[in-house]
C-alpha cells in the first residue's frame, strides 16, 4: 500500500488554517497538535521483504543470519534466533555486512596487473582469460618446480574450496592465520593436555558458570555474539568476574575485580595460582585421581612458583593470588579460567596456555555444569574424493567449530618422505622444525618467511583467498619480499587491500550475501548444520569460491575433486547423506540435534570424561608425554619477559566491538562508528612528554626503528608503562577510499618474534617510544 493513500485533504486544510492563525494564538498550538493524535499521519512504513538464511562472514564466529531482501537486494541483516552461535542477536559488524556488498570500491570483475607488481595498475579481463591464465601459470610452476611450490593462504568463511584445490594440485602448503597469528598456543594446550578442542566456537557453559577468571579475555570487545551474550547471562546469574589486563577495557568495567597486570606476565600469575591450588589441596581430588596423570610431577614443578615469587613480577599482590585460588575452589567446578582469544603475545604463550588448561583441569571443569560441556555433533559426511596424490593433507575437520586441532596423520621427520611426498614449507607438524604446530592450519607467519627466503624449498606461486598479509601479520618487509619474490600471485577477495594489490590476477569473489557456500557444521550444546543462501542478486561480475575453484580444477585436470555440477548440488548431496536436503534446510536455515545434558555434562551423570590425548593416553596429562619427547615440556616453566627501559613502553593492541581485524576499516558503516584508532597513554607519561588529548604523536619501535603517527587519547585506563591501540588501522591502499591513511598500523609495530615451542608469533614483545609528532 502506498504511504500516500493515507493522505487526507481535509486534515491538510485544517492544518493550513491553523498555521495562519498561529501567530495570534501560538500558546494554543500544543493542544491543537495533541488533538490530532489519532488522525492518520504520514509517518514511516515498513516495506515488504522476503527472508533467507545465512551465516555471517564479518568475523570468524559465524553467527546465524536471517536476511531481509526487497527487489533482489538485501536490506537488513537480522540474527537467526535458532542459531546457537548468536541466538538471534547480531553485532554492529554483522549489521554492517550490507556495506560489504554495496561497497562502491568492491572488486567487481576479474583483472590482470598491467604495471609493476604492487603498483595497483589493472586491466579488466574476462573470466575465461583470468581462469586460463591462472591455470596455465600454476601448471607451468608445477612442471618446473613441483606442486609443493604453491602456497595457499586463506582467511574467510569461504576459503574451504581453495584448500581443496591446493591439496588436489598437490601442495601441502595451505595455511590460515588462525593458528600462528591468533589462537594456536591455547588450542594446542588444550589438545595436547586433555585431547579436547576448546577454541573456535568455545564449549563453555557460560550461563551456569559462577566464577570467570579472565586473563586478558576482553569478551565484550573481542566480541562473539553468542559467547558474549552467554557470558553476560552468566554474570547476571551471579558469576563473579576477575579480569586481568594492562588496559581498563569494557570487560574491566563489567568485572567485580580488575588488575592491571604487568604486560606479558600472565604466566607467572597462573603458575602461582597452580602452586596455591595444589599446596592448599583446593583441586578436584577424585577427578585428579581417576582421570589425570603426572600430578606429582606437576606438583614438584610448581613448587617454586609461590605467590610471593609472582607478586613482584606481575604486580598482583600475593594475598590476592591466594584469595582467588580459594574463591575459585569454593565455586568449582562451575568456574573457568578464560584464555585470551588471540594468544600470540609473550615469548612463552604455550606455557601460559598450558597453565590455563592445567588450572581448569585442577578445578575439574570438564564435562561439568558451569564448566566446559561436551558438544553434540551433527554428522554431515564429507563427499568422497580421490586420494591427494602428492602431499599428506591434514583433513579440514568441520565438527566442533572450525578449529579442531586433532592430531594430523602426518609423518613428521622429513621435508619429503620416502614416497616423495613433501612436508610443509612452514615447518608446521614437521619434526626438527615446528612439530607442535598444527599442520591443518599451518604457521602463516612462517609460510610468509618461507616465501620471502625461498627456504626450505622454493615456493614460486601464491594463491590467497581473503586476508591481508600486511595488516594481520607483522614485519611488512617480509610480506612485501614474499609478494615480490614469487613468480605468480593470484588473489581472490571481495574487497581491495594492501596484499591483493600485489596480485598478477585478481579474482572477484561474490560477497557472502550473494552466494551459496559449503555447509557450516558445528557443535554446541546442540549439534547443528547451517546453510548460507544468496540474499540478493549479484551486483557485479563476481563468482563464488566453489565455482572459481571448480573451474580452475577443470582446467588443470583436477575436476574429480569437484565432482558436482554446482554448489547447490554439492550441498544437496551432503545434506541427503545426513538425512535431509537443501530444500529442507533452506526453509529453516539450520538443522539441529537438541541439547542433551547426559552428553553435554557426562560427569554430572556418573560417567567419566572420554579422553584420548595426542600422546595416546586415556587420561589428562599434566605433563604430556609427547612434550617430554620433544623437550617442550619446559614450556611450563616461566621465562623472564622483556621490560621497557626508562623511556620505553610495552606496545599492546586489541579489539573494539565494532571492527574486525584489518577487514572492516573500509566499511562505511563500521567506519562511521570509528574512522581511526588512537593511542592510549597514561596522563603521567603523557605530561612528561608534553602530550595532550587529541595531539598527533609518533610511536617508534625501538628495535626496528619502524614508526607510526597517531592521535593521543590521554587516559587513566592504561598502565603507565604501556601504550595501546585498536588493531587493524593504518591502511595505505588508495583503493580503500574510507580507510586509507586513517590511524596507525599496530601491525607495523608489533614484534615478529616467535614462541620457541610452537612457532606462533610473539607480537607483544615490542618496546616503543612515544613523542610529539
Amino acid at each position: 500500500m502506498s504511504t500516500l493513500n493515507n493522505f487526507d485533504p481535509s486534515r491538510r486544510a485544517f492544518l493550513g488554517a491553523t498555521m495562519t492563525g498561529t501567530a495570534l494564538s501560538i500558546a494554543g498550538l500544543p493542544s491543537q497538535a495533541l488533538a490530532r493524535i489519532n488522525a492518520p499521519h504520514d509517518s514511516e512504513k515498513l516495506k515488504k521483504t522476503t527472508e533467507v538464511f545465512g551465516f555471517c562472514d564479518m568475523c570468524y564466529w559465524r553467527c546465524g543470519l536471517k536476511i531481509r531482501s526487497r527487489d533482489g537486494r538485501a536490506v537488513k541483516i537480522d540474527g537467526n534466533p535458532e542459531h546457537p552461535n548468536n541466538w538471534g542477536v547480531v553485532c554492529a559488524k554483522g549489521n554492517s555486512g550490507l556495506m560489504v556488498s554495496y561497497a562502491p570500491n568492491r572488486l567487481k570483475y576479474p583483472m590482470k596487473r598491467i604495471g609493476k607488481r604492487g603498483a595497483g595498475k589493472w586491466k579488466r579481463i574476462s573470466w575465461e582469460e583470468a581462469l586460463d591464465t591462472v591455470a596455465k601459470n600454476l601448471t607451468d610452476i608445477k612442471t618446473k618446480h613441483g606442486p609443493q611450490a604453491l602456497a595457499l593462504i586463506g582467511h574467510g568463511s569461504w576459503e574451504k574450496p581453495y584448500h581443496r584445490l591446493a591439496h588436489a594440485f598437490g601442495t601441502p602448503n595451505t595455511t590460515s592465520p588462525v593458528f600462528g597469528l591468533c589462537c594456536g598456543p591455547r588450542g594446542l594446550s588444550n589438545m595436547i593436555i586433555t585431547g579436547r578442542n576448546l577454541t573456535g566456537n568455545e564449549t563453555i557453559d557460560l550461563e551456569n558458570c559462577k566464577y570467570f577468571l579472565m586473563m586478558g579475555r576482553n569478551i565484550t570487545e573481542s566480541l562473539h555474539n553468542g559467547e558474549t551474550l552467554g557470558w553476560i547471562n552468566g554474570v547476571a546469574n551471579g558469576a563473579k568476574v576477575v579480569y586481568f589486563d594492562p588496559r581498563y577495557s569494557i570487560t574491566a568495567a563489567k568485572a567485580d575485580e580488575y588488575y592491571a597486570i604487568r604486560p606479558l606476565t600472565d604466566h607467572a600469575f597462573l603458575l602461582a595460582l597452580i602452586h596455591v591450588v595444589i599446596k592448599e589441596e583446593l583441586y578436584d581430588k577424585p577427578f585428579i585421581a581417576e582421570q589425570t596423570q603426572n600430578f606429582d610431577e606437576l606438583k614438584e614443578r610448581v613448587q617454586k612458583y609461590t605467590p610471593e615469587w609472582a607478586a613482584p613480577i606481575t604486580e598482583v599482590p600475593a594475598d590476592v593470588i591466594r584469595r582467588i585460588a580459594r574463591e575459585m575452589a569454593e565455586k568449582a567446578p562451575s568456574v573457568f579460567v578464560y584464555a585470551p582469544r588471540r594468544m600470540t603475545r609473550s615469548s612463552n604463550d604455550f606455557g601460559t596456555g598450558m597453565s590455563i588448561t592445567i588450572l581448569n583441569t585442577l578445578f575439574g571443569v570438564w564435562g561439568k555444569k558451569g564448566g566446559v560441556f561436551t558438544p553434540i555433533k551433527y554428522q554431515v559426511p564429507e563427499i568422497e574424493l580421490p586420494e591427494y596424490k602428492h602431499a599428506y593433507i591434514a583433513s579440514r575437520i568441520e565438527t566442533g567449530g572450525d578449529f579442531d586441532y586433532s592430531e594430523p596423520d602426518i609423518p613428521r621427520d622429513h621435508i619429503a618422505d620416502e614416497h616423495g611426498k613433501f612436508h610443509r614449507a612452514d615447518g608446521a607438524g614437521v619434526m626438527g622444525r615446528w612439530p607442535l604446530a598444527n599442520a591443518q592450519y599451518g604457521l602463516t607467519n612462517e609460510m610468509w618467511r618461507a616465501m620471502a627466503e625461498q627456504k626450505p624449498y622454493p615456493i614460486r606461486a601464491l594463491m590467497t583467498a581473503g586476508g591481508n598479509g600486511f595488516l594481520n601479520s607483522t614485519n611488512y618487509d617480509i610480506i612485501q619480499k614474499a609478494l615480490e619474490t614469487v613468480d605468480f600471485y593470484v588473489a581472490s577477495d571481495v574487497i581491495p587491500n594492501e596484499m591483493n594489490m600485489y596480485a598478477d590476477i585478481l579474482l572477484p569473489e561474490a560477497s557472502y550475501l550473494e552466494r551459496y557456500d559449503d555447509l557450516q557444521v558445528g557443535g554446541a550444546r546442540e549439534g547443528y548444520v547451517a546453510v548460507r543462501m544468496p540474499a540478493m542478486k549479484p551486483l557485479h561480475d563476481t563468482r563464488d569460491a566453489w565455482t572459481i575453484c571448480k573451474q580452475l580444477a577443470d582446467r588443470m585436470d583436477l575436476g574429480q575433486y569437484f565432482p558436482h555440477d554446482s554448489i547447490k548440488e554439492l550441498l544437496d548431496d551432503r545434506l541427503k547423506k545426513a538425512g535431509s536436503s537443501l530444500e529442507a534446510i533452506e526453509k529453516v536455515g539450520i538443522l539441529k540435534i537438541p541439547r542433551d545434558d547426559k552428553i553435554n555434562f557426562p560427569r554430572e551423570y556418573g560417567q567419566p570424561l572420554k579422553i584420548k590425548t595426542p600422546s595416546g593416553m586415556s587420561k589428562i596429562e599434566f605433563i604430556p608425554a609427547m612434550l617430554k619427547q620433544l623437550g617442550s615440556d619446559k614450556a611450563l616453566d616461566y621465562v623472564e619477559q622483556v621490560r621497557p627501559g626508562k623511556d620505553e613502553f610495552h606496545m599492546t593492541f586489541g579489539r573494539i566491538g565494532f571492527h574486525t581485524h584489518a577487514r572492516t576499516q573500509d566499511n562505511i558503516w563500521t567506519a562511521d562508528l570509528m574512522r581511526e584508532n588512537v593511542l592510549w597513554i597514561h596522563p603521567e607519561p603523557a605530561k612528561k612528554r608534553g602530550i595532550t588529548e587529541g595531539e598527533l604523536v609518533v610511536v617508534t619501535d625501538t628495535s626496528t626503528g619502524r614508526s607510526e603517527k597517531i592521535k593521543a587519547k590521554v587516559t587513566i585506563r592504561i598502565r603507565k608503562d604501556t601504550i595501546f591501540m585498536i588493531h587493524g588501522f593504518g591502511h595505505w591502499d588508495k583503493r580503500m577510499t574510507t580507510a586509507n591513511g586513517q590511524g596507525a598500523g599496530d601491525s607495523n609495530l608489533a614484534s615478529y618474534a616467535r614462541d620457541p615451542h610452537v612457532g606462533s608469533m610473539s607480537m607483544g614483545l615490542s618496546l616503543v617510544t612515544v613523542a610529539k609528532a
Binding site: 502506498s2 500516500l4 493513500n5 493522505f7 491538510r12 492544518l15 493550513g16 491553523t18 498555521m19 498561529t22 501567530a23 501560538i26 500558546a27 498550538l29 500544543p30 491543537q32 497538535a33 495533541l34 490530532r36 493524535i37 489519532n38 499521519h41 504520514d42 509517518s43 514511516e44 515498513l46 536490506v75 537488513k76 537480522d78 540474527g79 538471534g88 542477536v89 547480531v90 553485532c91 554492529a92 554483522g94 549489521n95 550490507l98 565484550t220 570487545e221 566480541l223 555474539n225 558474549t228 551474550l229 553476560i232 547471562n233 554474570v235 547476571a236 581498563y248 569494557i250 568495567a253 563489567k254 566491538g657 562505511i668 558503516w669 563500521t670 562511521d672 562508528l673 587513566i716 585506563r717
Partner: protein
C-alpha cells in the same frame, strides 16, 4: 486498556558494541554521520583514582510532556495514545525548532529529506507485532521494550522488581516524564547523561517577550519567517504529493 510503551536499558548488560546504532541505521536508512540512537561511554575516575566506565544506550525518550511537540509550529511532532512521540513527514517543514527543544538531543534534520528525524520506537515494526530493531539485535539483551500497562509484560515485571531500581534521566529542572528507564545497579547516574536545559520553545519565548515589545517584534518577525517558510515547503510538498498520488492511481 491503552498501551503505554516504554524502553528499558539495563546498563550492566550494555557493552557499547553499537549493534543498536547500526541496526537502526539499516532499518531506517539514516544518513552517515547521523543516528537515531547512540551509546554514551562515560569515563569516570573513582575516589581512589582508579577508572570507571559506564555505558548508556539512548534515543528519544518519548516524554509524556514532550517539549518538541510544543515547539513544533506545524504540528508535525505528535504523541500517540500509546506514548510514542512521532513525526509526520508530510507536515514537517524542517524548521528545526524542535531540535534545541529536546533536552536529550534526540532530534536532527535529515539532510537527505530536509525533514526532522528521530527514534520512533520503531513504530511501524511495533504496529506489526515486531520488536524494535535495536532491541532485536542487542547483543547483551540490555534493551527491553514493551507495554508498561500490561502487567504480564517483561517491562512490567522488571519495573516492578523490588530488587532493581529503574531510574529515568531527569533533574530538578528537567523532568518531563521520559519513557525510557535505566538500571545501573545502584551506581549514581553521571552528569554526562543527564538532560540539558532545553532552549526555550517559541511559545514560552512569546509569553516572555510580551513584556518586551521590541523583543516581541523580533520574535514575531522570526515567527513569520519560519511559518512562511514552513508554509511554502508544505505547499510545494503538497503539490508533489498530489502528483505522486495521481501517478500511484494510474
Amino acid at each position: 486498556m491503552t498501551k503505554h510503551y516504554v524502553m528499558l536499558a539495563d546498563t550492566t548488560r550494555c557493552i557499547n558494541c553499537k549493534a543498536c546504532v547500526v541496526a537502526c541505521r539499516a532499518e531506517w536508512e539514516t544518513p552517515l554521520g547521523f543516528s537515531r540512537d547512540w551509546v554514551k561511554e562515560v569515563e569516570l575516575e573513582k575516589a581512589d583514582g582508579t577508572p570507571q566506565v559506564m555505558l548508556f544506550p539512548g534515543r528519544c525518550q518519548h516524554c509524556d510532556d514532550a517539549p518538541c511537540i510544543e515547539s513544533c509550529p506545524s504540528g508535525a511532532a505528535f504523541k500517540r495514545e500509546d506514548g510514542m512521540v512521532l513525526q509526520d513527514n508530510c507536515i514537517c517543514s524542517g524548521c528545526e525548532l524542535c531540535v534545541p527543544a529536546c533536552p536529550y538531543e534526540a532530534r536532527w534534520l535529515n539532510p537527505e529529506t530536509s525533514k526532522i528525524n528521530k527514534c520512533t520506537y520503531c513504530q511501524p515494526r511495533i504496529d506489526e507485532g515486531l520488536a524494535p530493531a535495536c532491541v532485536l539485535t542487542c547483543v547483551g539483551r540490555a534493551l527491553i521494550f514493551g507495554d508498561k500497562n500490561d502487567p504480564e509484560s517483561e517491562v512490567s515485571r522488571l519495573l516492578n522488581d523490588k530488587d532493581k531500581k529503574w531510574e529515568r534521566l531527569t533533574t530538578d529542572t528537567v523532568n518531563i516524564g521520559p519513557n525510557h528507564y535505566y538500571y545501573t545497579d545502584g551506581v549514581a547516574l553521571p552528569d554526562e547523561v543527564m538532560p540539558k536545559q532545553p532552549e526555550k520553545h517559541i511559545a514560552n519565548k512569546v509569553l516572555e517577550n510580551v513584556v518586551n515589545p521590541v523583543g516581541a517584534l523580533g520574535v514575531g518577525g522570526m515567527l513569520a519567517t519560519f511559518i512562511g517558510a514552513g508554509l511554502m515547503k508544505l505547499m510545494s510538498r503538497r503539490n508533489e504529493v498530489n502528483t505522486d498520488n495521481n501517478q500511484e492511481e494510474k
